[in-house]
Structure formats: C-alpha cells, structure tokens
Symmetry: D3
C-alpha cells in the first residue's frame, strides 16, 4: 500500500505539466486496442476528463475499425477492390457512418458518466470537415473516400470554451452534400492544425517508432520531423506507421507544437505522456 | 407568372408573424412522409433555415421509422413481443441508435447545404435527455424503451444562441449509461417544455384532428387542451393520434404557448403555419 | 385568391436574399413622391421594419422638399438668388431644420407604429455629420449650404446594434456650431461610405436611368460606375439625375457594394429590390 | 485675482458631492430665462458637461415658450380658448413640435461644442413617452394636450451608458400615432421617476418657494413633500408654482431622492446646487 | 522507484476530488510550524499553486508568531499586561503590522516562484477587514486588538476571478482609521464565511482533535459542529484548541461546507486533505 | 468669504483639464516632506481621490526615507559603505521592506478614509517589478540594490479598471526570489512607461528646476527633454535633482506625454498641476 507522502509526490510532480499545458488544446486520435478493451477504454476516457478538469482542452477523433467490418459482414456487403484498394461504395459508406455514429455516442456517454461533459460530432455538423474525393493509385475510383478540404473550427471553439469535450467521427461532407470517409489520423492532424493545438496524440497498438522493428526495446523517444524522410527511406519506419508519421509531420509543419505516437495498450498512456516525465511512445517534433 | 405586387404582399403579410415569433423557440417533431419524400424533405429544411434567418429558433427532433425496420430486417433481427408490444432488446437498440444517427446527420447536411448551420445531437450529448426504463402493460419488460427523466437544455441554449439549428435523435441515457429509445413526440414535447418554447409542431401524415374521422373536411382548427379528454372519450381522437395529442397537452401544461399537429404531406406546412394566416392542421392550446 | 403554395414560394424565394444581406447595412435616401403619398409611405416604412426583423440594418436619410417650400411661403420668407442659385440664409436654414425635424419624427412614429423601433437623429446629434460651407458657381456665397466634412458614425453603430432603425435629417454642424443644409443624396452616400454599407438605395420619382430619356421601357438595369462619365457626356444621364448618380459612384468608390436608383412610386420598391429577382430601377456597381 | 490655494479649496469642497452623486442620474427641466440669455445658456450647458465628466448622468428636458409663441404669431395661427384654456389644435401642435425640435438640436450642438456628447430625442423616439389625451376643466376638449401614459426608458439607458447626454423634447405619442404636447415639468418628473433618478432639478425664473411671496429673502431652503399640501392651502405656494411643486412631490413619491426648484437666472445654478453647500433654491424631499 | 501505473493511479484517484471542488473557494489559515520550516513552506505553497491550477480557489490568511516576538525583543518593546492579557499598544501594533507585511510578501514571492500568481493584501486594502476594538476580561483595555466588524470581499472576488491567489495579513481597519490586530483563525473564518467558501482549513501543530489528549492515535476524524460544546465541557477539547474549533463552528453556521484542523507538520497536508481519501486531521462539519 | 460665482468659476475652469485627462493614467512618486506633514499628507491623498472620481487613474509609488533610517537606528543596524555608497545588506533590506510595507498600508488606509478605494502592492505582488542586482561605482557590491528588469503591469490594469487606486512600494523581486530595494523615482518612471501613462509627477522638497539655484524665483516652468543634458553639463541641474530629471527624460523617451517635478511642500500641488493653469514646478516634456 502506498503512503500518503508518495501520493503527494506524484501529484506534485504533475504540477509543472499542468502549468505547461494550461489552456492548451490536445487532439487525440483514439483507436485500436484502446477502443476494444473495456478497461483501457475506461482509462482513456478518465484521462480525457482529468485533462479537462485541470485546464487542458482535449478533442477526440475516433476510429471504428472492427465494428465496421463486423457490420458489413452481418449485412452481407462485400467490398469491391480497384487496383488492390477497397472501394467505399455508397452502401459501405452508409454502414461506416452508422457504426461511427454509434461508437461516437458511446464515447460521449462514457465521458459523461465519468463526470465530464462530452458532445459527439461528425464532420457534417456545422460543416466541420468539408472533403473532396480522393482517388486511388493510377487515379482509380475508390468511391466515397475523401481528403480534408477545409476545417471549419468555429463550432469546436464554441463548445470547447463552454467546457465540453468534443468527440468527432472522421466523416466529411462533399461539395454536393455527399458523405466521405476520412482517415482518422488525417482528420485528427487536420483538426490539430486548424485548432493550433499544442499536442497531437495518436494512439496505436505498437510501442512507437522502433529503431529496430524487431526489437521492442529500441524505441525512439524523440525525433525531429525533418529526420522522418530518411527513416522512411531506410525502411526503419514502414507499413502502416508511414501515414501516421506523415500526419505528425504535417501537423508540426502547420504549427502544432509536438505530436506523439503512443502505445494505446498501456493503461493511461495519455495521462502518463501529458503529466509525467515517464517516456512513453515516440514524440515527433 | 406572379406580379411584383403580389410578391410584395406575401412578404408584407409575413411581417406580423415574424415580429410575433422573433427570438422565440419552436420545437419541430419531424417524421413520417415528410422525411421520406425528397421534395418534402427539401421543403421542411428550407422552412427551418428561413425561420432561423428571420430570428426564430427552430429545434428539430426526428424519427426514423421505416429505415429502422428496414435495417432490422436486413440484419435478420426479429422482434420479440411481450404483452403484444415489441421489445427493444440490446441488438435492436443498437440498430435504432445507428439508423437515427445516420438520419440525424443527413438532416444536418441538408440544413448546411441550404445555407443554415445545423448541428446533430442525441440525448446522450452533454446528457441532454436522461431516461429511465419504461414498462409495458402489466409491468411487462419491453427492453430499452425509456421515459424522459430530465432534460438538460444548457448545451441546446448555447448552440441556439451561437446561431446553430440543433437536430436531435430521440435517444436517452439511463442512470447506468444504458441507451434508451424514446418516443420522438414525447422527446419533442419534453424539449419544448424544458426550453419554454413558444410552439411545438408535430408533423404527421394526417390532416390534423378530424371531428369525423371519415370526413377529411371536418378538420378541427383550434382546440383547448382542456377539451381533449372528452374528445378521446367520445372516440373522436383515437389510435395513434392519442399519444400525439397527449404530448401537446403536456407541453401546454408545462408552459409552451401553442402546439400544432400539422400535415407533413403539405409542402412548406411549417412555413405556412408560422408565417401566414392559412389554416393548416390542428392547434392545441 | 392566392393559394398557400404560392405564398410559400414567395417566402422561399426570399431566403437567398435574406441570407445574402444578413447583418448588412442598407442606407436608404427617402424622398420624393414616396414621402407624400400616404399609402406609399406606409409601404416604405413596412419595408424598413421587415428588413430589420430579418436581420438587415436599414438607415434612413430623408428629404423634406415641398413641406419646406410650403412653410417658407407661409412665413413669407423669400429666397434670394446668387448666380442663379437659391441662397439659404439663416432664417431659411431655421425653417429647413424645423421642417426636417418634424418630418423626421413623423417617420420615426410610423416605424414604431408598424412594430419597429425608430430613432430620429440629425447630423448635430453626437456630431454625426460635421460640415463646411459650400460655395456656389464662381465662389458665390449661397449661405448655409454645406458639404460633408466628416461622418462620426459611432452613435449610429450603437443604436443599430441595439436594434433601432435610425432616421436622419441631412443637417450638418459647422466648426463654429453653425447649421448647414446638406443635400440628402450626398448625406446618404457619405453615411453609406462611413458605415461601409452593403447597399445605398436612392428613392426617386423616375424609373431609373433610361437609355433613351423619352422611352420609359429603355431602363438600364445595371451599370458599372466606370461607365457613368461617358453616359453623362453623351447626355443620356442628365439634369437632376447627374448628382444622384455621382453620389452612387462616390459611394461605390468608398467601398459600398451596390447602389440603386429606384422608382419610389412603385409600392414596396425597396422590398422588391432587396428580396426578389424582380428588376426594379438601375443598379450602379 | 484668486490664489492657488483658494482654487484648490473649491475643488476639494466639490469632492464629497462628486462622490455622493457618482453614477447617479439627474434630470434637469431646462426652461425660462436660462434658455433665452446666451450667457446663462452657456453656463447651463457647461454645468451639464462638467457633471457628465465627473461621473454624473444628466438628462435634459427642455421647454420652448417664447419661440413657440413667436412662430405661431408669424404664421398667423390664432389660438382658440375653451373654458379659458388655450386649445392645441393640429396646426398649433405642428408648430410646437417644429420649434421644440429646433431648440432641441440647438442645445445638443452647444453640448457638443463644449466637449460633451449630446443626443436630441423627442418622446416619439423609440416610443420614449407614450401619451393619452388630457381634458381641460369640465372635460373640455383642449386638443392635442397629453398626459404621460408610459415612459419607455430603454433607449435612454443605452445612450446614457454609452456616454451621451440625452436632451428631450416633451412631445408624446398617442395610441393612434397622434402627437401630444406634454408639459415639460411633468415630462421631466415622469422621466426622473422612470429612470429612478437621484435628483430632479426644475429651473425657474424665481428664487424658489418663498415663505412670504413678497419677501425675496424668505426663501424656504428645504421642505418635506408631506408639508406641501398645507402650504398650498395657506396660499404660500400659489399660481404657476403649484404644478411645479406637484411634479416634485410626485417624483419624490416615485422614488426620486430629492427634487429642486432652482433660480435659473443665477449663472451655474445647477453646478452650485450639485457641487457646493451653497443654498440655492428650494429642495423638496 | 515508482512505476508508471502507480503514478497513473494516484492521478486518477485525485479526479473525483478535482471534480468535487472545481470552482470552489478554500480558505487556508497558514501558521505554526509550517511557516517556519522551509521544506514545509515549499510544500504548502506548492499545494496552493496546484489547487489553483486544477480549478480550486485558495485564499490564504497567515500568522506571524515568532517573528513578531523576535522583532519586539530586538526593538526592546516590552509588553504590558492587563488582567493577565498582553496589551497591544501602538508601538507593538506597528511592529505586528510591519512583520506581517514582510511575511506576507515572502509568501507571495514563493507562490510566484512556484508558478502561481500571488497577491499580498492586508485587511486595510479596499477596507477588506473592518474592525472594532475588542476588550479583554472584565472589559479591560488590551489596546489595538480588534474583532472583525465586516468583510468587504469585492476586491478578493475580483483578484480570484482574474487568477490570483490572495494572501492576507490579519490586520483590520477601525472606524477612525486605526489599525487592529486580528486573530488569524478568526480572520480566516470570517473570510471563509464572507466568500461562502467550501472549505476552511486551519493548519496547526497538532494531529487534530484527540479523544484522549495523551493518546496521539485517538484522533477524531469527523465531528459535527453540534457536538463541539459537549466536548469542550468534557475537557476533551481544551486550551488553544478551543478558539480554533469555535472558529470552525462559526464558519459552519455561516454556510461554509466543511472545516478542517490539519497537522501542518505533515508535508502536503492540504493536498492530502483535498485530493485523497487519506484521513488527515479533524473535520468539523 | 468666497462668493458662489467664484466657486462656480473655479469648477468651470477645471473642466478643460478634466476632459483632457479623462481616462488617462497619472503616476505619482510620493515622498519627501509631503509624506511627513499630516496636513500635506491629507492634501495629497485628497487630490488622488478627486482625480479618480473625475475619471483620471492615479498610480502612487511611495518612498520611505526617514522612517527607514529611524528603524535601522532603533534596531542598531549599522550601514557598511563600499566605495562611499551605503550597502543594503540582507538585514537592512528586511527593515526597508517592513517599513515600506507599513507606510504603504497607511497611505491605503487614508485613501479609503477619504472615500477612495486604495490597494497596497509591492513589486513582489504578481511579479509586478522584477529586478536585477545593481552595482555601485567600480562594480562595487552594494548589496540588495536593484534595477528594474521588467514591469508586469497586468495586475495594475485589472485593479485600475475595477476602480482602485494602486499604491506601490518600490521593492523588486530578483530571479532567485531575492528582494531588491529600488529607487522610488526610478520605479515610478518605469511604471509610467509600462502603463503608457499620460503624466509622471515627482513630488520633491524644492520648487522645481531653478535657472539659478540660489534664486527661488528663477523657476524653469517648462523644459524639453532634449535640453536636459546641457543643463546638467552647465551645472544648472545638479546633485539629487540629476537622477530625478533623468527619470523624467527616460519616461518621456518611453512614451509618457509629460513629466513634472513639483514642490510637495505646496498643499494640493498635484491638483493645481492637473486641474488649473497655475504654474507649479517644472514640466519636462
């Protein structure tokens, strides 16, 4: 059992971080394992609520992965492939939006239960995320997959100032009112840039960037955005990590102070990153 | 072709109504035919946007009917019945919430396309609608069907004041974080009461209350809330109209000025009700 | 009798214009026939009140023509002429100011009766219009005729923001506290410029600018400010229309978006100009 | 020549009064000799501007006496008499309003010249003073003479808070939009009551209330409102002083702290009353 | 060394307390050992700064004990005694005020060094604490010892809202401008009442209230204000603890939610009391 | 005895000055004889309160001279000298701070008694004056004597806007939290610059700058900052006046409009300088 003094020490150690981030905005891409395991879920949401209470403004962008696949399967919707890429046709898009919407309100409800005040939005609300069609390789039509055209952050600013924690489904609205599926990391990065956030945190299912992908102890704690291209070239950053890291670089270039690729499988990874000196994941700055 | 003077006359005729409702809140239960037909849809949303621009604050609560049934069918979810009532089990509730969420954002997107600023919410956002379990006849367990426990209108007030049109899915949140399906008319009535709205408008697929249900020309234009019980007793108000009318009466008793059962099949029924002398539907006051 | 649907159509047609001018300022020079005929008067004021309610900010500058002449006659004040121009001596100026003041409050009272909130001002209030002496041809002294020296729009901004419709007598105050008669069109143009108004509307007793002054069907609907000088040279714009058009050009050069010379003899000319596609008068832009 | 120390003493003596009236409203009925003599005029307006700068909010209601009579004469309008009272017919009312309007702007211009920010209003502006017809003795019709029905002080509060000195013509607006002549003292009293003013000051052409009307040294400095009726009964207060005193009593009963009948022939009478111990005129409290 | 998870747990455990006290005011009487030992000093101030950052508003009232005695000695000022009580004569009072002033700014400087924004005040600033003379036993004159007459909390509210931590010397100002020494516990209690604080915390040099004064393990953790008198009667609460407890009771009766007698010798006692379940000291409620 | 008219004249003469300085900030260095004589003290404070009430914002920086010397003597603290300069060692600094603190609250109490709302601050409050160590001649260590490093005026702006008169002890806080004694004239000058004050007034015990130091009638009323260096060179400005004048020059260079060296032995010198044409002291501009 922990002594009073040890408790006091931990709280006191948090003080410089609380000071540093007071009034700042932190955009969190919430996805992967941390959305599936109910204990981790509870831990993530607790971290968000705690941040809000100590004066930091978290903004959540969530993914939907397995639930979307499950629902598509249950509905017997089979994906077409063009140039090796899954096509988001209109019935797929409908399922994506529905499942994201359900998950969105689940997160909101959990925030509210833990004492925060959550509000669930999609990119359609107040035209928060306008989008344009994205093409696949060789200009292939891959359906309703969109790129962020513009972020209209006014609504977010209003609800943040009023004390709410906004939770956002990465769905964009096209020029003709059509719905686009937006990559969650990309949406989070664009929102961080538009809000001039202090931090962008991407929760993943890996330790961070590893110098030797086979050695989990080879974590790179801090890396400059300028050094990323050569790491990709050398194959140190590879596969699914590449787009995540590119989101970070883009956010840094747009004025976000630091970006973080954290291991969402560690309970309270966000809290540890924000409030302690503990080295968690990789910081791209 | 219409002459300039006739146009001017119509606009001038709207002035007293614009004055009367300036700054007032109008809650609209949007459902039925008006949600299915794309021309009617366009007309309803246009009316909402127009209201907002001339200084009235519309708040929309929508239903989901046929889409929910369709999705349940596609997913092969069969409803159980207890005491003759359909039971909303957890997998049904999930579908209800997902479909409502999708429809919600569709309405929002249309508002935005027509020049308004819509924002889609459910009763879970900022605990807008807290709910308790509702029992069926003979205390039968009919699953996740809820009654409104409390409306927390603060978020609505904030977004209304900031110029947004809130669109609300009638989903409630229970004391343990469980999700409840709330009847749309009931939710609209409760919101109208909590917002001290000036008007509650329920869009239906009938002309209004008919003195002789078989005679469509026997529309009752205005009726006092106090006279409703005897009309129900006499069988003049019957079937699905009874709960709608009871919502109206409850809203009136809670301080809403007037309530309206309108024929949603008439294009621009809301606009005609609000801005002209034209007799549309039944007013319960 | 007009059908419900037609009424709805007119209101819906107004929506894009309401959106377009929402929160914008429109300065109206009110004079001529529209101030004499009581039905036209009622129509003009109704248009102003309607504009205010739908979020547009009208500012009225009025003339006084025949009433001033009448009162001068009743008082036996005869005008002197210098170089062919009527001299505004001090007793004439006193009459001008008194009559304008009376008309000003009449307009205000009518606005209030029709449900708006009018407030009557002259250029002396809060030094709204400061003026300097204007000379006639060959530097002739034509008395208390003034040019606008500076507009101090702060008071107007305050009362506009508080929901009032300001009605302004075109009287200016000189450096020594002396009173100057200012041309109404000029005052309206200067106010439109100072308020960075979206529109300047000058009500006249003609159809607008005619390509062939003898042919009333030869109305020029739209003309660029840059094209005005050559039209004057060609004699197409002539007589009393020249100073009006020059006010428009000056306002355009000072940042007013569009200016309009409307036929004040058409009932609701302002409303038709602002809220419909109907071609009324000449737009100088 | 006055020494520095004496100057300092006077300023220091003003301090308790400045403190006492800081942020308070003082309604001044401005009329009589003080409006005719240009030095007195300058002194009165200087006092108003000084008050405003040291944190007191003056509100001016002015009369028009001799100028109205003069203009009626010039226009050959002869007054009818009913039951011994002059009838204000519509052409008389028009002249009254015009002359008051001209005087109103003169006062405003002088305030602005002396460094204040004046704004001239009549009871018609924003329905400031609504009125009903007043009858003469034996219910005789005396034309457009009105009683104050209601003061709508919102506009005054706005302009006072924005730093302006409002100057008000005692003209009221009737239920049908008709114009009424209101007694200036009465209007000032009603405005003082509606604004919950701290002081009502009525400038007259006498020393105040004299215990012996023939002895100018018999000035009553302070009198309780409750003692007024017996003084009227005893004939000590008589003639034109009676309605003035009754205005004071009514204002006191409506919550105004003190009322003052001052001798407007004394330069800076207002300033001496407000900022020094000097006994000037009669205080009714 | 502590693991990341343990750190996270402590922070998470603080969340309910942060929520509970968010936006609340906590008045702390800072004195005794915790003011003398530099490590304890650092710990107390850290706790204050942390509280402020997580949304709680601390207000500090400090004592001066040994420093005052030391300075009186250095200056050779000997105390007189009347009825066994030390008399605060004017030269003593001067020393008290000077020493308190110096300690006050020391605390402020430490707050600022630790990242907070402190502001040091005495009861004289903006008449924060007005006082009247307090008499000793048998009405003996004990000099400039005062009782709180009135708290004027407006200045405190302003600086609290602007993000400052006010630090207050318990010096009061008498009706003639004379300076009074006020007991620090009493001043803290009166300020807590005037600010409607949520908590009053008195730092002492004992464990709290002991059921058996000889047994340090017999701490009474919670006690109702109503039960205090009988404890005093029974001699369980005795000596210097009596006035402290009476301050608590008075504060409770004036609307303060809970009061605490804490052991200031325990590092971070305030933080442990406010943010953990750890039982520290005695709560009087 | 003074007549009413003379009183009025003095008040009216103040008007242009009240207008001129309305809303402006005036920093006053209060020291010398004017702090010792109780009548002069009363006069100075009255002037400050009067200024505040008529819309000017006084900020006071005070000295402590003789009281500090007296207390050092009583405590038997002897000053060391390095290079002919008195060294402020830590025990001296403690006495300086204590005595300044006591004088500070005395001034505050007097302001409050005279109807103002004073608040006493030192440079430690909210880090108002941060300081660095100042060296003596030949880099000699003269102890805790500081130079102004930075003024953080936010707290001052807040309390000024809330209607308080700030009174400031010239004590600075060093980078390690150490306390520094700052020259009062220098502190006043730096505060005037940071607040962009309109005036800096330094109260001295001489008439001002004399052209012939032996001839008290040779007062230089106005002098340009640019002309100061040559006057120093010529020996016209000499001794203790040099640093005072240099403060003025520095303030002028930092944007303060005018600076004044006044004779604090003249009662109400500040008031006479600010509100009358009376030539008092020397203006450096």
């Amino acid at each position: 059992m922990q002594s009073a003094l040890e408790k006091a020490r931990v709280l006191v150690e948090a003080l410089p971080y609380i000071k540093k981030f007071y009034g700042k905005t932190v955009v969190i891409k919430y996805g992967g394992h941390a959305m599936l395991n109910s204990e981790l879920k509870q831990a993530v949401i607790t971290d968000l609520v705690l941040m809000k209470f100590v004066g930091i403004n978290p903004v959540v962008v969530h993914g939907g992965g397995p639930d979307i696949t499950g629902m598509l399967k249950r509905l017997g919707i089979e994906s077409q492939f063009v140039g090796g890429l899954r096509v988001t046709d209109s019935s797929t898009m409908e399922v994506v939006e529905m499942v994201l919407g359900k998950l969105n309100k689940e997160i909101v409800a959990l925030i509210n239960q833990l004492g925060g005040r959550g509000i669930g939005l999609s990119g359609k609300d107040a035209n928060l995320i306008t989008a344009t069609k994205k093409l696949g390789k060789d200009q292939a039509d891959i359906g309703f997959v969109g790129e962020v055209a513009k972020i209209n952050p006014q609504l977010l600013k209003t609800v943040i100032d009023e004390g709410y924690i906004p939770v956002i489904s990465p769905v964009g609205i096209g020029p003709e009112g059509e719905t686009y599926n937006i990559n969650g990391d990309t949406a989070a990065g664009a929102l961080a840039a538009a809000l001039q956030a202090d931090k962008l945190i991407i929760l993943t299912d890996v330790e961070g960037i590893l110098a030797d992908p086979k050695d989990k102890t080879s974590l790179i704690s801090v890396i400059e955005a300028a050094d990323i291209p050569s790491l990709i070239e050398q194959g140190i950053i590879q596969g699914g990590m590449i787009p995540k890291v590119e989101c970070c670089v883009k956010a840094i270039q747009s004025g976000v102070t630091t970006t973080h690729i954290l291991d969402g499988r560690v309970p309270h990874a966000i809290l540890l990153e924000v409030f302690t000196d503990q080295g968690i994941g990789t910081m791209v700055k």
